[in-house]
């Protein structure tokens, strides 16, 4: 079996390493990175943009270019999160928390470096997982039905504890707001909720308008206020590259993030956003210094950035083996493959090994190109922070408005951008954490659907879920993640009291 894998991979690389295909991989990676950097346009946008061009190419080259763009967009997503507090895509929201703090402390270089290195390691591990266990994993993922998804989402909600710091009540309030925003739109039975007859609301409030409003616009307001009152500290110029010590320190977080990301990514109904939240919350929970998170902890960048890259590699598994796209991005990938007369599905691995192995080889290649491409870019990007604020703040505003508008071309989204910007300002001024709002929105819709499906299947009997081992596993995990920090806190408190005495 391993011999077969090596042979197939050899065939894949023989195609991927043709000079013109290396060029396509390079172009794809570059375009993907650039588009990924722009907020609002995530991997899905990057791929949709190059899709028309791709169809004029040879199928193998087309897939290589798409795969590189896919990987590239996932790399680029973290850049604006770290530098400007503007999340590039929903999987990079968590990266803002510690990444932007690091940037304010003059450590933007190491943050960008660890995001690139983490992405590289996670992307490569994810592809290795896809290559070695793809079909097996896709079978295992099938045991996830609606009750399991619901339990997973409940577990993911418990991440609110690590996103709220000391203000757990305020964190819960923020999360509830997110869950409420998630109810807007057409529900699974066709009922319109809080749509007010506005067609732009039929599919809910645009996620980017909320995210970028809460993070970026509020940041602009706060910074302006700080300049006025003279409180603003200038960014300290600092080293650009990461030290080996910092890399070693966060390597564990990268590996754990990759594993969590890949496992969540292979579930067709979860996605990279959920993966990054889970990875972040896991890191805070096992950390000996959870209080450092949210204040510029490098592990807080390494874990979610690794998780979202591993998840995007994992998400290829249901797409390739079941023909079912797990995310907007893989949906475009699927459309691209079908446009090239490749039908993903249970027979793809045996019927079109050239496509599968070409894709796998291209993803390896893309990851290497991206690392080479991204590390030198760090030096350039970091300089953005040395610009005077009078240039940075308008730049953030332009990026925010462009990014949000490009998602749907809807003016209403810009209204929401402003509203959530003001709300974000109010919340941050009054000590409310904003990340739980995003958590609520990311999880709310999927969680509700999974719960309602579960209830239909069981005809309203809530307790049948306890017959399902995966459900129990996640519910137990949820309890542990809620109560363990409390117990530990109590324990350390008594320890301190003991020490003091």
């Amino acid at each position: 079996m391993l011999g077969e894998v090596i042979h197939n991979l050899g065939v894949g690389f023989a195609v991927a390493l043709l000079p013109e295909n290396i060029l396509y991989a390079f172009v794809g990676s570059f375009l993907g990175t650039i588009v990924g950097i722009l907020p609002g346009l995530g991997p899905a946008g990057a791929m949709a943009m190059i899709l028309p061009a791709v169809f004029t190419l040879h199928p193998a080259s087309a897939i290589i270019m798409l795969a590189s763009a896919y990987a590239g967009a996932m790399y680029g997503g973290s850049t604006t999160s770290i530098l400007l507090n503007v999340p590039g895509e929903n999987a990079s929201v968590v990266t803002c928390l510690d990444g932007y703090q690091m940037a304010l402390q003059g450590r933007a270089g190491p943050a960008l470096c660890i995001a690139a290195i983490g992405s590289f390691i996670a992307g490569t591990m994810g592809i290795a997982g896809l290559m070695l266990f793809g079909p097996i994993i896709s079978k295992a993922a099938l045991s996830f039905g609606s009750p399991e998804y619901f339990a997973l989402m409940v577990f993911a909600l418990s991440a609110v504890a690590s996103l709220s710091g000391d203000t757990i009540v305020k964190g819960l309030l923020a999360m509830t707001l997110g869950l409420m925003v998630a109810t807007v739109g057409t529900d699974m039975t066709g009922v319109r909720r809080y749509c007010f007859n506005l067609p732009d609301l039929l599919d809910g409030v645009e996620f980017f308008a909320v995210t970028i409003g809460l993070f970026a616009i509020s940041e602009v307001i706060i910074t302006t206020a700080e300049i006025k009152s003279g409180l603003r500290k200038t960014v300290i110029k600092h080293k650009i590259f990461i030290s080996f010590k910092e890399f070693l320190y966060s390597s564990g977080a990268i590996i754990r993030g990759s594993i969590i990301g890949f496992s969540v990514g292979v579930l067709p109904g979860a996605g990279a956003g959920v993966a990054s939240f889970l990875a972040y919350s896991f890191e805070t929970q096992i950390s000996r210094h959870p209080e450092k998170f949210g204040k510029g902890e490098i592990k807080g960048v390494a874990a979610p950035e690794s998780a979202n890259n591993a998840a995007s590699a994992g998400a290829l598994i249901p797409m390739l083996t079941l023909g079912v796209p797990g995310s907007g991005t893989t949906a475009i990938m699927l459309a691209a493959l079908m446009g090239l007369n490749v039908n993903p599905g249970p027979l793809l691995f045996s019927s079109r090994p050239d496509v599968v192995w070409g894709l796998i080889a291209a993803m390896y290649l893309g990851n290497i190109i991206l690392l080479i491409l991204n590390l030198p870019l760090v030096g350039i990007f970091v300089r953005i922070l040395y610009l005077p604020l009078k240039y940075i703040l308008p730049l953030i505003m332009i990026l925010a408005v462009l990014g949000v508008y490009s998602a749907n071309m809807a003016v209403l989204d810009l209204v929401f951008l402003c509203l959530f910007g003001l709300l974000g300002y109010y919340m941050r001024r009054n000590g409310y954490p904003i990340a739980p709002v995003i958590l609520g929105i990311v999880l709310g819709g999927q969680m509700e659907v999974a719960l309602r499906q579960t209830m239909i299947m069981s005809q309203g009997q809530p307790f049948f879920v306890f017959e399902r081992p995966i459900v129990i596993f996640f519910l137990v995990l949820t309890l542990i993640s809620i109560f363990l920090p409390l117990i530990l806190k109590h324990f350390t408190k008594t320890q301190i009291e003991y020490d003091e005495a």
């Binding site: 899709l51 039975t189 066709g190 039929l202 079941l322 459309a335 079908m338 039908n343 239909i456 299947m457």
Partner: protein, 334 residues
């Protein structure tokens, strides 16, 4: 003074007349060559599907786009876009409202496009579109997991009779064609099941693969790969299947109920020039003659269906009435 002013005005008027003349000449020149050969698209044509890649309505427009490109039927590039969300309303609005009158946008039209607006009481109906042509009819099939205890349709129905509401059908949002066919079948048999709505047929397929639901009703092209791979078993079809001749129809198994014509058609936004509509109708007529189209029909167990233009409008009117009645009969609409 007054004369000068008059002259000025005259001059201005002259200039205006000249400008109008010039524009008219330019316009005629611009219109000239294309109107001599009838209307032709001058910009890339975008075909939109309301469902995600891989569904019947999506494969249909991808096939059209391929055939047009391969045979050079159309002087511009065509692209396919999937605009999902809000039960198809996003895609319908994109075509009927945002691109109203734009002849470079086409829309994949399937029965759910007719029925969801009725159920959702939407202001967009089939009258918001210019009908071009209906091209094919799909055959919905009832599929169970290969390890399922139900070997025939009567196994399934009897199980549903013994355990009311405990047999589950999965599919896209409620009110789509799969759910209607399921409801009509069960009403006909006098049993009740539960319908579990998913984001789309694809997610329901995954749920069936994981044995979380009992059956799905989908079109052949959406589940063919899984049947071939031995994951799924077809236990009934609305019509005879060429690729799976052993499968018995609902009627042959003693369940004779009125089924739904699961058509695949193409429409354009209302307000496009009549020449443009004529151009596309002709284009689709030419498409029908190609070998690629015939092999697409055969490969996907589709029946040829050619109703174009006004006849299609009449057909859609009748179908709309049928759905209105059906929705009331099965209690989806009061």
């Amino acid at each position: 003074m007054t004369i000068k002013r008059k002259e000025n005005i005259m001059r201005k008027n002259n200039a205006k007349v000249l400008l109008v003349c010039l524009t008219a000449v330019l316009f005629i020149c611009w219109m000239g060559p294309s109107s001599a050969f009838g209307w032709e698209p001058s910009k890339p044509v975008e075909i939109v599907s309301h469902s995600s890649a891989g569904t019947g309505g999506d494969i249909f427009i991808r096939t059209l786009s391929d055939i047009w490109a391969k045979n050079k039927f159309i002087p511009v590039r065509t692209s396919v876009q999937n605009i999902t969300g809000a039960r198809g309303d996003k895609a319908r609005r994109y075509i009927a409202v945002k691109n109203k009158g734009n002849p470079h946008y086409l829309f994949s039209y399937v029965p759910s496009q007719l029925n969801t607006p009725i159920l959702d009481k939407s202001d967009i109906s089939h009258r918001s579109f210019v009908p071009l042509s209906l091209m094919a009819v799909q055959t919905p099939i009832l599929v169970v997991h290969n390890e399922s205890p139900y070997k025939s349709l009567s196994d399934l129905i009897e199980a549903a009779r013994k355990k009311p509401k405990q047999i589950t059908q999965g599919g896209g949002s409620y009110g789509n064609i799969a759910s209607l066919v399921g409801k009509m079948l069960m009403d006909h048999a006098g049993v009740t099941i539960s319908y579990v709505p998913y984001k789309g047929g694809g997610e329901a397929t995954v749920a069936l693969l994981g044995k979380h639901i009992d059956f799905i009703i989908e079109n052949v092209q959406e589940v063919r790969e899984h049947v071939k791979a031995g994951n799924f078993r077809i236990i009934a079809a609305t019509d005879k299947l060429q690729s799976f001749p052993a499968v018995r129809t609902f009627k042959e198994q003693g369940y004779d109920f009125k089924t739904i014509t699961q058509f695949l058609g193409l429409v354009a936004p209302q307000g496009i020039p009549a020449e443009a509509a004529a151009y596309y109708i002709k284009l689709l007529e030419r498409t029908r003659g190609t070998t690629e189209w015939k092999s697409y029909l055969e490969r996907n167990d589709l029946a040829e269906f050619s109703v174009a233009g006004d006849a299609m409008a009449k057909f859609l009117d009748d179908e709309e009435l049928f759905y209105l009645r059906l929705n009331k009969e099965i209690g989806l609409l009061k």
